[in-house]
Symmetry: C2
Subunit: 682 residues, 2 copies
Amino acid sequence: MFDRPAEPLFVLKGQRRDFQFDIPEEFVNTRFKKTQRKIQKQAGANILKIKKLDVLPDISFPKQLGRREQFSHFVPKHRQMTKQLVQMLMNSSDVESFLSTSAYCRDQINPFMYSYALAVAIQHRRDTMGLTLPHVPSFFPERFFDGSVFSKVRNEVFNAAAEDRDVIAIPRDFTASDLEPEHRVAYFREDIGVNLHHWNWHVYYPGVGGPEVVAKDRRGELFYYMHAQLLARYNFDRLSNNLARVQRLLNWRKPIEEGYFPKLNAIIATRVWQPRPANSVLKLSDISRDDMQLDFDILDLERWRDRIYAAISSGKVLAENNTYVPLDDYTGIDILGNMIERSDISINSNLYGDLHGLGHVAIALVHDPDHKHLEQAGVMGAVETAMRDPVFYRWHSFINDMFVAHKQTLQPYTEQELGFRNVQVVRADVETQYLDVLNEFSTFWEEDDFNVDRGLDFMGNGTVRVRITHLTHTPFRYLIQVNNAGPPRIGTVRIFMAPHFDERGIQLTLRDQRQHFIEMDKFQVRLQTGPNQIERLSRLSSVTIPRENTFRDPAQELNADAGEMCTCGWPQHMLVPRGKVKGLPADLFVMVSDGAGDQVRDPQGPPNTCTDAHSLCGIRNRMYPDRRPMGYPFDRLPRAGVTTLQEFLLPNMMVTPVVIRHTDGFAPAAPPTPTRFLRLQP
Amino acid sequence: MFDRPAEPLFVLKGQRRDFQFDIPEEFVNTRFKKTQRKIQKQAGANILKIKKLDVLPDISFPKQLGRREQFSHFVPKHRQMTKQLVQMLMNSSDVESFLSTSAYCRDQINPFMYSYALAVAIQHRRDTMGLTLPHVPSFFPERFFDGSVFSKVRNEVFNAAAEDRDVIAIPRDFTASDLEPEHRVAYFREDIGVNLHHWNWHVYYPGVGGPEVVAKDRRGELFYYMHAQLLARYNFDRLSNNLARVQRLLNWRKPIEEGYFPKLNAIIATRVWQPRPANSVLKLSDISRDDMQLDFDILDLERWRDRIYAAISSGKVLAENNTYVPLDDYTGIDILGNMIERSDISINSNLYGDLHGLGHVAIALVHDPDHKHLEQAGVMGAVETAMRDPVFYRWHSFINDMFVAHKQTLQPYTEQELGFRNVQVVRADVETQYLDVLNEFSTFWEEDDFNVDRGLDFMGNGTVRVRITHLTHTPFRYLIQVNNAGPPRIGTVRIFMAPHFDERGIQLTLRDQRQHFIEMDKFQVRLQTGPNQIERLSRLSSVTIPRENTFRDPAQELNADAGEMCTCGWPQHMLVPRGKVKGLPADLFVMVSDGAGDQVRDPQGPPNTCTDAHSLCGIRNRMYPDRRPMGYPFDRLPRAGVTTLQEFLLPNMMVTPVVIRHTDGFAPAAPPTPTRFLRLQP
């Protein structure tokens, strides 16, 4: 269903073009009834017969968005259409009618909206549990790869047999040059895995749909935390590249300094993403778009912002039923997350509006706020492309500031809330493969290929590989020694890392540094009485998905034995910030917290589905697997008297100074022993 | 050679894919040597064997522009490359080696540059005289049609057999809506025929190449006149749409108010044309582009401008050999034209620079003047797209102002220079088909289809028709009665038309109105003694090419019997400005001038090649067929004491008040007698 989304459903599908849907006549777009009958004769293909539907669903509303128009996750009208589609797909009584409903919609609905709604349904239906979500860069390559690739792809497909085809390499610097300082972190913003994560997060946590899709345990809090982590990681990479930390986008009446030219071309859509030239007087404007049935003013955004800050400062929000709900230590952040993002479970969307979403829209339409030029949105309009644009981080730094303001109203954690009696961390080191020093990370560049065949609509059989260059790091492991002077217990190991210096080269104070801690890993251990040696491999990180989930080949995807692949999660290759060639000093923080305060008793029992990146993505349809507030222990201000990270430490914590060293090349070239660490076990 | 310019030369070509070039092995791009051998086996095709070349030409310099990059006629480096190509193609000793040289270059050179250079060579070589130039919208549809067409085209080609394919209609309002006032004249700026004319004019009159290509009779003057006529026509259509006349772009330090989003997608090129948002602070910037080896400052443009105005005011220019050359009545304008455009025959390009060309470049690069964002030019960068952008007319109004300033230094025409003794125009009427009133023009909308197959690189056999809507008018004729009280003589009938009122509804004074006269026709008549009845059909106009030359089907193009089709010329369907629904009053000016002062004695004898649009395009490789200054009698200020058009009249002139009435629909629906006028002959 995801294969070549603009080609009709009845043509041959699959990597080898040997799979075909046999669809009821009434599902076929009248335009192609004739063609369909001709194609129907194809022999030798594996045919999947699609059952008729007793009643054809009414899709007239979602059909209002043209097949070739741009779909935006942030435009309320598009959200309402998506909601209807998701509910229809969720409500199909069994797999067979789910399949039929999907088939019926497929060639009538905008492919971007359809694929998103279908992915949401597959992710949330009980009878499709265990199915791996399709790999969105494969079927929508126009959203992920340099647009110039596609004319080269056509050239290869046209001129060379499959076995003779060249791999098409996308240069690392395709969107800008280093004359533009912001371009130094383009490898981060334009990383396939980073954008893939963002799309999948919004599939895991859609803002619209029925309660079984939206109303999830701590989704509002996760909205805050996931984005806060994105920002912390972005800032870490900015400091690695001698750029100052990102500035919040606070004054919406001033031009936006940063320009961005996405260079994504259109294959399925008819219009390209509009660029935003640098330093243009293009400041946010009041929006009046007949095509989206959308009108709002910058004053609306300002009013919502001010009401939200007022609610935070007064510690309570006014719910739709006209009662005040306190913003307490544990649920306050969750209420705020849903309210500011404006998901369907916002506590009062009339009063607090749709700040985050319509801010995306205002920025995405900055070049044509009134539809004068019939232009569609910029990349800020869609979750799979928004992170490419520098302004995304400026907008989200502003959004994050509201959450930070709320957290600052809370009492700092006490020593009791932070400590773990009789547990002491005595060693916390990082050992990187092939390196003979401890506590040094090694990053470098790596090439990987994608097979984009499934997204090459109307280009014939197109097994063409596209090669990208991305950041990566040498595998490493943590070596942690914990002394337990008490009885055997469960502990949660929490590993964070933050830069040691700010952009001026001055040591960060904890008040500041705490916002720059990126989560590296979190896992539970059983602590025996006495010394415990803990060893943990970097590829197991609770924030990442394995690299094969990012760089997978769609040809292997239908292999059912492989089990479900997690799709939401930070890409493993981006786990470590770039660092500097001469080494970037950072603080590695390791803490073992008391399992008694951490563990979640999920009434459904332990999860049986992918848990790879639970820190950022939770676990499907389950409770978030850590009872502490997300970001603990750095989400609140440090307790009175604590200024530096050192002063913050208790016996169950340790800080290790580490260095991130970057090699600006494709090294280390040939790993001598790919699976072993050179040093002995501790 | 022009067919599907990005596909290799050795694949099947032609409308029915039944034509093949057999090219020497050493001509094949190494990338495709393998493929070529496979394809070479094709049977049943008409094969044209290409002769080997004794010495392969050195094309390393023009090859520096990548195959998928943007070619600009205005970037000096690209011009130098074009010059080398044109000279190489012009210097091939015979047709066979010309063909071989073309074949050798074709798959190595940027297709946009190659096609332009090849068209110039075909236009200028003696042994290719009589060949019709290829129809550029057919082989580069991405430069002429709404970019959203191509995904629909792919859909049709993929899903429907040739006979089942839908025609793909481009809405009239695809680039903007009427919320944008400038959009009201988009039908003019984006007209296929108008842009086609501009490309072909620059093929007829290239600015670079050897002297046989550039140094033509009065080319500088024609540069002035053709553009002045474009502006007069554009202003006429602006007034028809309640828009003020275009403002000159004088202050280059201020933002450009008019935005433009071209919506042209890329098929062959890898990057789309960049838009320019409205009211952006994007003012022209100093250019420093390493990719084009081009650096110049706005101060340079300002210095050149000021030197040119100083030369005009002092009536002389300083030539490269350090002598002063006067700007006299007849050659002054020609010198200025070549100097301001900056063709290869500029009298002193060091001193007077490259004002017109680099102004185009500065505007085209306004979004990325320093290549920070690795972006290519906007539509102002190429002659086939520049006229789409409102700023084109603002820039050329400034350029035109310099020519006007020069013309104002000349003595006004005397009554003797304007008169024609004993000749009197006694009647000058317009009779429009199917109308029962005189002196009324009728304009309306019409649809026409293009076959874009030849430009659908890598899309398989793609006979798909694209339907556009354009302005047109009902055919008409002029009925003119001239009394000749002298002996039989030759007279030149000159027909112009201008709006009667300005944008405020106030009658134009002649000083102003003279710049708004559009040339409608010019032809010679033999005047008998006594009354002469002159009848002239609109389709014969000396400024237009026939409509079939604009809307031709490339399938019929190879029909050698058809003779040469003129390609340069204003499109017949745009001969009459739009007018207003309630009627736009205009002045039709008819003058018969003395053939003794008009006729040109070309040493080569009468022309044997197409002369359709000689007023704007001259005659190939011949002298311009009118000895008067172009624009005569309105190119100079009126003589002393003359304020209105009425006061300007002499007996050999007449002004008829006319009305241009527009029907905002596809009317008149069904012409009852397509070839006859309803009224009787006079």
